[in-house]
């Protein structure tokens, strides 16, 4: 005897009842009810809840998977567990005050987020940035990219079964933290970039540390490649897993390494160069397979390209100031603040009012963050606070693609696929 039992009758959630009901209902909606055959002793069809507190979901991601045996028939992602209302906060802060909040969005590459906000504000307010600051920002962004990809690599390889790898990539990340500590003053949430430039110049120690890192890091990557590229277990675990077609990847708007893994060379550094990315030579690695293994190859190649960019930046690094010398556009240097009355007043005005873009204008500026296109759309009302600040975060778009990718895959591959897409919940939940 077959009997249709609604899931809603079975589920009895404790908190946010309406929310849980709507989520389960949405999973049911395509076929109105999930058929649970009570006479089926094996009970092959089930709904599996995964997360939000789960070590393999890279944060507080929650998945609701409908399974037929070991195959995922349908799935829903439930995000928002790390929602802090960053966009609302932005409307009540000056542009510079808001910048430390961006550190906490994609917390694996804080430097890129700072630069993304600062360049967006500079675009809308028409602020010129000194040449040297551009190069320092590029070095910082590329180090952040390596740092983020290292965490991806460690976590993803750990997801596919090799624990020790995580420790090796973290040894390299530790060196990056030390570099950031030396050049920005913080290991993790750096907040080094400023509107109109950067906070301070590279110290000689930081420069020599970066040089040493650039010289030794490629050998490390070569070692990892040797271990992974022909590793039977690693390849079996990733080949043809999480495949997405070319058309779907564009239609679902994947960004970053995920879209380049299917052969779309969409990289903002080439598409719409910011800073001085048009002055350095680098390649945008692409592959055609569009599976998890391709995403791994892309990210490894990107780390080496980043090293190439940093080398060129170090060679080209021009002399000069690191922050715009204009009291209306950026903070005065500390020397001025301490030893002149005007400097003090300007510092006070910058903190109190800040940069004021023209009334009624809007601008969008995106950078290529490690995870994809990170864009800030700002609407100004002529005051020092943005009227509306919209963050186009790469993890949000990529997670939407993950929902599409998971359909029809095996349950055991879920964890590897989350690792492969590389979401950061602080970024997607805003």
């Amino acid at each position: 005897m077959e009997k249709n039992i609604s899931l809603l009758d079975k589920a009895n959630p404790t908190f946010f009842k309406k929310h849980q009901d709507a989520l389960l209902k949405s999973l049911e909606d395509k076929h109105t009810t999930v058929e649970l055959d009570e006479t089926d002793p094996l009970g092959t069809r089930m709904i599996l809840n995964m997360g939000p507190q789960h070590p393999a979901t890279h944060g507080v991601l929650r998945l609701l998977l409908e399974l037929d045996g070991e195959t995922i028939v349908r799935n829903r992602l439930d995000i928002g567990y790390l929602h802090r209302g960053v966009e609302k906060i932005a409307e009540n802060k000056t542009y510079q005050e808001f910048m430390p909040y961006t550190d906490r969005m994609d917390y694996l590459s804080p430097y890129s987020n700072n630069v993304a906000l600062c360049t967006a504000v500079e675009k809308i307010a028409g602020i010129e940035v000194p040449e040297r600051a551009h190069y320092i920002r590029m070095i910082g962004c590329e180090l952040a990219r390596i740092s983020s990809h290292l965490l991806y690599l460690g976590a993803m390889v750990m997801d596919s079964g090799a624990i020790s790898f995580f420790i090796w990539t973290f040894r390299e990340r530790e060196r990056l933290y030390d570099i950031f500590d030396n050049f920005g003053g913080h290991r993790f949430t750096i907040s080094h970039s400023r509107i109109g430039g950067v906070h301070n110049d590279l110290t000689p120690e930081a420069l020599s540390m970066i040089r040493e890192f650039v010289d030794t890091f490629p050998a490390e990557v070569a070692g990892w490649k040797k271990l992974l590229n022909k590793n039977r277990i690693f390849i079996d675990r990733n080949l043809n897993v999480g495949k997405i077609s070319y058309e779907d990847a564009i239609a679902y708007g994947l960004t970053g390494p995920n879209i380049r893994a299917i052969g779309v060379p969409y990289d903002i550094r080439k598409f719409d160069p910011y800073a001085r990315y048009d002055q350095v030579e680098f390649d945008v690695p692409t592959r055609l397979e569009g599976d998890n293994l391709a995403r791994y190859f892309i990210r490894v190649e990107e780390m080496l390209e980043s090293i190439k960019i940093i080398r060129q930046c170090l060679d080209k690094l021009p002399k000069g100031p690191v922050r715009a010398d204009n009291a209306k556009h950026s903070y005065p240097s500390k020397d001025e603040v301490y030893y002149s009355m005007e400097g003090m007043i300007h510092d006070f005005m910058m903190t109190d009012t800040g940069v004021c873009p023209p009334d009624g204008v809007e601008a969008y500026h995106a950078i290529e963050a490690p995870k994809g296109e990170l864009g800030f759309f700002i609407q100004s009302d002529g005051t020092g606070h943005p009227w509306r600040l919209k963050i186009n975060s790469p993890s949000f778009t990529n997670l939407q693609g993950l929902e599409k990718m998971l359909d029809g895959e095996m349950i055991a591959d879920t964890v590897v696929m989350i690792g492969g897409v590389d979401p950061v919940m602080g970024d997607s939940d805003k």
């Binding site: 404790t14 908190f15 995000i79 928002g80 809308i124 779907d248 564009i250 296109e373 759309f377 939407q400």
Partner: protein, 168 residues
Amino acid sequence: MTKKEKALQVVETIKNTFGDAVLDTGGHAGDTYIRIDSKNIHSVLSYLKNELHFTYLTDLFGTDRFTSEERFEVIYNLVSLKTGTRIFVKTWIEEESPVLPTATDIWPAANWNEREVWDMFGIRFEGHPDLRRIFLPEDFEYHPLRKEFPLLGIPGSFELPTTTPNTE
């Protein structure tokens, strides 16, 4: 031809094809936007995708203009991967029961973004396959990015778990 010129060419094409539906065009600092009448937004968007190769929807979001007429604004951030052009399409809608036709049938990527707009501004999208809130729970009654919503939130609007476990 620069990107700005290419974007302006797209604007001209839309103007010639849709005529009165185009209410405003402009841009600041190299960006180009085009404002469309909300009745024609769906046909303009599908024209942009099917005829002008804007196959990639980068972003879709709402804005609260906080005016008495046509209070809400929805902006589509479109990219043409073929010509490398970026264009912003926007439309204004009324405060009373704000509704727009969905863009999920044109770009599946609009799905989550439209849910976000519904969550944050309370703008409904007609024909959306699964219009639920995305960040906040369904039990929440307000739309927090509207300007009248206080920064500190509304006390009691969230049913939060107690720290002591329910032993029943």
